[in-house]
């Protein structure tokens, strides 16, 4: 379409040019205000399509008809300039840097608004800030970039959705993840992989295709998305063509990634001695039947295996994106294609994405515009087996845990080179034990597959009609299709597939969403000062899900590794069906008086299928006001000398949340199954016909101000979010026998805090500049009530332990642990504090006449357990933020981004495993163990089988640590190749860089990385580090070229 238009234009131009004898050539040079040439600037004869663009040295030559009156010159980020031609044949243009604060727009939902006029709280992140990073999805790179935004990369598994919070944890049972709107279409979010590989839906988008990310945080900015706005709304806008000659860009980077901070473990010799000592202490050591022993390897030396070496690797990653874009008066276009292939730190964990994006906008006439976009991606999310990091903390095969647990005195291979295994488990070799590890990770990594392939289409088309200048009608149809092929194979040799003699599963998940939006907008200014903008609209959104598949077990020949091969037993896999629908009517009125006083109101009424029969509809709203004080007369008396700008804004409103609510959760239903081959009907879901929205009442008060001609700008915002009608899946006593927790709108919670951000350019010279920005968000989260009769909500990790509790008067997801009071120096026993605060001494095997649990006086004490746990520490960071610095010296550019989270605690559950006294290997700190009376240490006497003293059986306070950290998130050094060199190569821009991610971290946390979440985006079980694969450190080198 574009090419045809271009050809037509060209032909018309030639005809036109040929028909006129009277014409002349105008030459000239376009520079910036410092005299630097501006290449690629557009030079147009006013009122025509005749034009050209400047060369790399800023010069141009254009043949113009003799009746041409003026030339218009424009360039990206520069002000447009018009000069009369008259009789001149040489015209130079000096363009000034565009004052971005005037022209800058932000996306506000169903439209854009000039940043100066925005009265809601919106943070904007430019695409350049998140492009070319070693990430899979753009939001992984948002950390530290905007006030109020918390991003936590939960683990080192590729393409796991990050924890994404805007102004704290805003829900307990539902999601706290913001609504993501990509080019106007509310997109699917979350992990769409059904296998042990993660598959974040947002990874479909190549971060390099993003123009901007605008984050609406308060009610005013988000209320236009009503029922889904409580967690904030993130507007993602992809790139469009810009005026001027077509541009071609090439962005490539390549790098490597490694683990860091792995715990130091006992080696084979230490392990063997240590475990035998524990057996002796337990009174069960027997050199021939119950003992640990070294085994010699093929080299005749004792086997001493470092299991990390078999599980982790140095991963190679690369990414390449090519784009072509441009625009003329009628049509703008942006095409891009990208390919990235990233290896993770875990062997066999790969991410590959092919992505294409086409954005086209076309003015079909004076009144009609049409356009659309098509984005397609194919993602391969690959893994061999579970990482134990995606909510499955205790997976037997979990690669986060296996290298920690497995005995170092055995090898993955027998001395003859064959795999070492015994049934499903790894073989014990010389150890006189039933078991010294779980699965053999090498067999799993070599043989098994846990892959998920995602085909993802995000598209939309629109027609826009402007019957009169002040009215715009727009109809947009968008769709988001996520098709997921899950494929799992477990080898029959050993491990997960052993018991079933091999297992292959394939299942397909089809997620289809369409969104049809119709809006009408009126923009009119009355009496030159009263500016009105009125928006009205109707939107429907329908989402459908279908899942089906097959599981086959009992392989008939070990060479069959696909579902299509020979197998004995077929079973179903991944069956599911569901739908939901949202119908909405909305409106917005913006008013400003002379650019000085601003008022805005948003209203939205939503009807959602997921809600109870009696409560389908909800109405949401937000109002805001702003005052540009610098435009007042009284301000010019002196305050204007201090402040170059000053704006006060405030907003109030009510928005909702239903994210994460099941399609049919409000219904009471019976499911079907089988008993003895006949059908069953089983009460399976307890519903609630009155189930409604979770509502958030948000208040915001902010000050935006600037000094020194806005070379320093700052923003301070106070916010408070009162959430009521929390949609809790209210737990009932298990003895009530209900099949599910009943969803109900009960409970209240608030988040309040202050955001501060500062942007400054301390130095701005021709060859040296320094830009710095700092942001800090303080958030206080507190649950104020739960359901009547429900005093607390506990939450488990991996279904096996319960270290989290949510209880009124505290923040959501407090740690819930049993207290200890060190180790008794006289006996080496662990000292617990029971629920009454009384000391209880524990020894795993009690000599006769003594008790396992005893009071200090030796009398029998009741068993200490999780029932003695206390509400302990907060897991919500009090302070999060970032500190970004860019220093340019001539053609070099150094960027350093620090991110931080402060004032929170983490339950380092992995540590309990690292000190478990079963066959599990231990960290070297176990060598501090108590040995003889008088020893003062934090590690109790080791007794084989003891899983209680150090926290495996139930969570203990000794494994809770401060999580505070400051990270050097990225450090990059770039070099822009000078123009004079580029000109010869006909290249307009070229930049080389080297960049490091996670290079340094300042923290006292003893685990691999305090930026962690074993339970992903879980709201009431956050701050847990249980057997999770830590984050990666990545170094990349890259190249950006523009033609």
């Amino acid at each position: 379409m574009h090419m045809r238009k271009l050809l037509l234009t060209l032909t018309a131009f030639l005809l036109f040019a040929g028909s006129l004898l009277a014409q002349k050539t105008v030459t000239g040079k376009v520079t910036d205000d410092k005299g630097n040439p501006i290449p690629n600037a557009s030079v147009l004869v006013k009122g025509t399509t005749t034009g050209t663009s400047t060369k790399a040295d800023g010069t141009f030559s254009l043949t113009v008809p003799s009746n041409a009156k003026a030339l218009i010159v424009s360039a990206i980020d520069m002000t447009t300039q018009e000069r009369a031609i008259g009789s001149q044949t040489s015209l130079d243009f000096s363009l000034t840097q565009e004052d971005k604060t005037i022209s800058e727009v932000v996306v506000v939902g169903y439209g854009t608004q000039r940043k100066k006029e925005v009265t809601g709280s919106i943070a904007s992140v430019k695409g350049a800030a998140i492009a070319n990073k070693p990430v899979q999805s753009f939001e992984q790179a948002l950390g530290g970039r905007a006030a109020g935004v918390q991003i936590t990369i939960p683990n080192g598994v590729l393409n796991a959705p990050p924890v994404f919070r805007i102004r704290g944890t805003n829900s307990l049972s539902l999601t706290s993840y913001p609504l993501i709107v990509i080019d106007g279409v509310p997109a699917y979010t979350g992990d769409f992989s059904g296998t042990s590989a993660a598959g974040n839906a947002l990874a479909s988008l190549n971060p390099n295709d993003i123009e901007s990310v605008d984050i609406a945080k308060d009610a005013a900015a988000s209320a236009i998305y009503g029922s889904r706005a409580a967690n904030g709304v993130v507007f993602v806008t992809t790139k469009k063509g810009k005026a001027g000659r077509s541009r071609v860009t090439l962005d490539s980077w390549v790098g490597f990634t490694k683990t860091f901070g792995l715990p130091d473990l006992l080696d084979a010799f230490q392990y063997t001695d240590h475990k035998n000592e524990a057996l002796v202490n337990a009174g069960t050591f027997n050199a021939t039947t119950n003992a640990f022993a070294l085994t010699n390897g093929p080299d005749g030396q004792p086997i001493n295996t470092r299991w990390y070496d078999y599980v982790y690797r140095t991963g190679i990653q690369h990414s390449n994106t090519v784009s072509v874009s441009g625009a003329n008066d009628a049509t703008s276009y942006y095409f891009s294609a990208g390919y990235t292939d990233q290896q993770g730190i875990i062997r066999k964990n790969d991410f590959k994405r092919i992505s294409v994006l086409m954005n086209i906008d076309h003015k079909a006439g004076k009144a009609i515009s049409v356009g659309g976009k098509l984005q397609y991606s194919n993602e391969q999310n690959l893994a061999a087996v579970s990482s134990g990091s995606l909510g499955d903390a205790f997976a037997t095969a979990g690669l986060g845990r296996v290298p920690l647990v497995t005995a170092p005195n055995i090898s993955p291979y027998n001395n003859d080179g064959t795999y070492n295994y015994s049934g499903a488990l790894i073989g014990v070799m010389g150890n006189k034990q039933g078991q010294v590890g779980f699965n053999n990770p090498v067999i799993q990594l070599d043989q098994n597959r846990n892959n998920s392939e995602i085909n993802h289409v995000l598209a939309n088309a629109y027609v826009q009609i402007k019957p009169v200048k002040w009215a715009t009608l727009k109809s947009t149809f968008g769709l988001d299709y996520v098709f997921v092929d899950n494929e799992v194979y477990f080898s029959p040799i050993s491990g997960e597939g052993f018991a079933s003699n091999g297992s292959a599963s394939s299942w397909f998940n089809k997620n289809k969403r369409w969104v049809w939006t119709n809006t009408v907008q009126f923009d009119k200014t009355f009496a030159e000062k009263h500016n009105f903008s009125l928006l009205g609209g109707i939107e429907q959104q329908k989402s459908d899900f279908v899942g089906y598949g097959l599981n086959r077990i009992g392989v008939t020949d070990p060479s069959f590794t696909d579902i299509q091969g020979g197998w004995q037993t077929p079973n179903t896999a991944g069956l599911g069906i569901g739908e939901n629908y949202l119908y909405s009517e909305f409106g917005r009125l913006n008013y400003n008086y002379s650019g000085k006083y601003f008022l805005s109101g948003n209203l939205r009424r939503d009807g959602a299928s997921q809600l109870g029969l009696n409560n389908k509809y909800g109405t949401f709203w937000g109002v805001s006001a702003g005052w540009e004080i610098t435009k007042e007369k009284f301000w010019t008396g002196g305050l204007d000398k201090i402040f170059s700008s000053f704006k006060i804004r405030s907003s109030y409103g009510r928005v909702g949340n239903i994210g994460g609510l099941g399609n049919f959760q409000s219904l009471s239903t019976f499911n079907s199954g089988l008993y003895g081959g006949n059908g069953t009907v089983v009460f399976s879901n307890a519903g609630n016909n009155n189930l409604g929205w979770e509502t958030s009442t948000k208040f915001d008060l902010g000050f935006n101000f600037g000094f020194l001609k806005d070379r320093i700008t700052a923003e301070i915002t106070y916010f408070k979010n009162d959430i009521d009608g929390l949609l809790l899946l209210v737990p009932q006593p298990p003895s009530a026998g209900l099949p599910s927790n009943i969803p109900d709108n009960v409970g209240t919670m608030y988040n309040k805090g202050v955001e501060f951000s500062l942007n400054a350019t301390p130095v701005q010279k021709k060859d040296f500049s320094w830009n710095t920005s700092f942001n800090l968000t303080y958030t206080k989260n507190q649950v104020t009530s739960l359901a009547p009769g429900i005093t607390n909500l506990t939450a488990s990790t991996g279904g096996l332990e319960t270290p989290s509790i949510t209880i009124p008067g505290y923040a959501a997801g407090m740690l819930f642990v049993t207290r200890t009071q060190g180790v008794d120096p006289a006996t080496g026993r662990r000292i617990f504090l029971d629920k009454n605060g009384r000391q209880v001494f524990f020894q795993h095997v009690a000599p006769s006449g003594q008790f396992r649990f005893a009071y200090a006086d030796g009398t029998l004490a009741p068993t200490v357990s999780a029932a003695d746990a206390v509400v302990y520490k907060n897991t919500n960071p009090k302070y999060v933020g970032g500190f970004d610095n860019t220093i340019r010296v001539k053609d070099f550019e150094l960027n350093a981004l620090f991110t931080y989270q402060l004032g929170f605690h983490i339950y380092f559950g992995t540590n309990a495993g690292l000190r478990d006294q079963r066959f599990w290997n231990n960290s070297t700190d176990i060598l501090r163990k108590w040995k003889k009376p008088g020893d003062v240490t934090d590690i109790p006497k080791v007794i084989f089988g003891d899983n209680i003293s150090n926290g495996s059986a139930f969570p203990l306070d000794v494994n809770v640590f401060k999580g505070d950290f400051i990270k050097l998130r990225t450090l990059s050094l770039g070099y822009n190749i000078p123009r004079n060199i580029l000109e010869k190569a006909r290249i307009s821009t070229a930049r080389f860089y080297i960049s490091g991610n996670n290079l340094a971290i300042i923290t006292k946390y003893p685990g691999p990385d305090p930026e962690v979440s074993s339970n992903g985006n879980g709201t009431i079980n956050q701050g847990i580090d249980r057997n999770t694969v830590g984050n990666a450190r990545t170094i990349t080198v890259g190249l950006n070229i523009g033609f």
Binding site: T284, G423, A424, L425, G434, Q435, P467, V468, A499, S500, N518, Q540, T569, G578, N580, Y581, Y583, G607, S609, F664, S668, T669, F670, N671, S672, G673, L674, Y675, G676, G679, V681, V682, F683, V730, P731, Q732, P733, P734, S735, A736, G737, P739, A787, G789, T791, S796, L800, V845, S848, R852, T863, S865, A866, A867, R918, F919, F944, G945, N947, A953
Partner: protein, 487 residues
């Protein structure tokens, strides 16, 4: 002209807007894979589906599909834990479960009450309208089944979470007793009833079942997988035995055990011992010896880490995980248990250890899980006769011989074989350990008699007065039910 164009646009826009109106039916979608509570009692097939659903739920591998039996067996002294895995009962085996032990203390509690509530919801629903759909006779059959399954669930709870009946004659705390269906939000705080109160309810349920269940079903499969009158009677012998009410055991057992060998049930399903015990545990698993079993099939598998065969068999044998081998000092060392005993055919040796292979099928481990077997009824009766008469009871010896003789014809007991009643009782208890191994009796057999839990490698013996003699109460229950107290 210009105005007309505007009208055209406005007309088009109005058309567009009306087309985008709310699609009301989309706002209240009807799920296509489940049945609304409003119509769950509307047809006879849905009602029978609900009855089967209660069975399917008590068959849940956390209960009588495997774990109830396993937990009872590994509390005894005959098995060795080889995996130290809490998920597969290491804490139960070593008598150290905590309130928060997910896979035992928490899950069994939750599942048992889930079954109880299903039964209650069903009983309420039948009264409210279901009876009118299927008729009074069938309704009574179904309610009888529901009450029997409720009784089984309460019985299983008492065995783990409450002091045995002998301790204070049932006056100790039992479990919360819930008899009405729960379907929505309410205040569910409820204190524990006494042990005696819960047993009274169990017996009331079983008596109702006995009076209302059909005598037999159409085929052997249903006779094994659905409760009939003799199922209720057989279960009552177990319940009275746990209460040490031996006279009642005898009364109940006599209803389905003939006075003399060969012992058979003369009414209802004709229960009898099979000539070869191993046939009881083979496909089709539906001999008249199996009074109640939980059926499994490849499309109805027990689920991972729950299967009897996975726990008790080594990998080399059937792909199991060898979670528990036979403790060399346990019943396997009993000299009277001869190598030629047919029951030794269900013991295998692998890697220097012995294992129970009563449930040998690998893959999905689809061997049916036995719940009540006629052999148990005979042993219950034998024991009750000895303990109630406190003599070397001749019929008790005959019953013992029926069990032993069927598998080991070379060993024949006579009244003279036993010095006194205690010796005969011991022999019967030994026979139970051999005959019923792996079927979920060892733990409850110790606690109902007030015997200490035996010492095992690395594990001390637990006295009948010890805190660890019974399980703690689920910490979830304690947190959410303020009236419930811990053990």
């Amino acid at each position: 002209m210009k105005m007309k164009k505007h009208y055209l646009y406005i007309f088009l826009a109005a058309g567009l807007l009306s087309a985008t109106g709310c699609q009301k039916s989309n706002l209240a979608p009807v799920p296509s894979t489940s049945i609304s509570d409003l119509s769950a009692f509307s047809t006879a097939s849905r009602i029978e589906g609900q009855v089967r659903g209660i069975y399917a739920s008590i068959k849940n591998s956390g209960m009588f599909g495997g774990r109830y039996q396993i937990f009872n067996d590994i509390r005894g002294g005959d098995f060795m834990n080889d995996r130290t895995n809490v998920v597969t009962g290491y804490d139960i085996w070593s008598y150290t479960p905590s309130n928060s032990s997910t896979n035992s203390v928490q899950n069994h509690w939750r599942r048992a009450y889930f079954v109880i509530n299903l039964a209650n919801v069903f009983i309420d629903g039948m009264a409210a309208g279901g009876t009118a759909v299927v008729g009074d006779a069938l309704s009574k059959n179904y309610v009888g089944e529901a009450r029997l399954l409720r009784a089984m669930s309460y019985y299983s709870l008492l065995q783990f979470y409450a002091r045995p009946y002998w301790d204070g004659n049932g006056s100790k705390p039992g479990v919360p007793l819930r008899l009405t269906g729960n379907t929505g939000s309410a205040d569910y705080a409820l204190a524990r009833a006494t042990v005696a109160e819960v047993y009274t309810q169990i017996l009331a349920d079983l008596t109702f079942a006995e009076q209302n269940l059909p005598l037999t079903y159409a085929n052997a499969t249903l006779n094994t997988t659905r409760a009939h009158r003799n199922t209720a009677i057989a279960l009552k012998t177990r319940v009275y035995l746990s209460m040490q009410q031996y006279g009642n055991v005898i009364t109940e057992a006599n209803k389905i055990v003939s006075a003399t060998a060969p012992f058979t049930a003369s009414t209802g399903v004709a229960h009898a011992l099979q000539a070869d015990i191993t046939n009881v545990f083979k496909t089709p698993y539906t001999t008249t010896e199996s009074i109640l079993s939980m059926p499994f099939a490849s499309n109805e598998p027990p689920g991972t880490q729950n299967q009897l065969g996975y726990y008790y068999c080594p990998s080399a044998f059937n792909g199991g995980n060898g979670e528990y081998s036979l403790l060399s000092t346990g019943i396997i060392s009993n000299a009277g248990w001869l190598a030629t005993d047919r029951r030794k055919a269900m013991i295998i040796t692998s890697g220097g250890k012995t294992y129970l292979s009563k449930f040998p099928t690998g893959g999905n481990f689809t061997d049916w899980a036995p719940v009540i077997r006629y052999a148990e009824v005979l042993l219950n009766l034998a024991e009750a006769r000895v303990r109630s008469t406190n003599t070397v009871d001749a019929q008790a010896v005959a019953l013992l011989n029926a069990i032993r003789g069927r598998s080991d014809a070379s060993t024949v007991f006579t009244v003279g074989s036993f010095a006194n009643a205690a010796a005969l009782a011991d022999a019967i208890m030994t026979e139970r350990r051999i005959e019923l191994m792996g079927e979920g009796f060892a733990g409850a057999d110790l606690t109902r008699l007030g015997l200490p839990l035996p010492a095992k490698p690395g594990v001390n013996s637990i006295a009948p007065t010890g805190q660890q003699y019974i399980w703690p109460i689920s910490s979830d229950e304690l947190l959410l039910n303020p009236l419930c107290t811990d053990n």
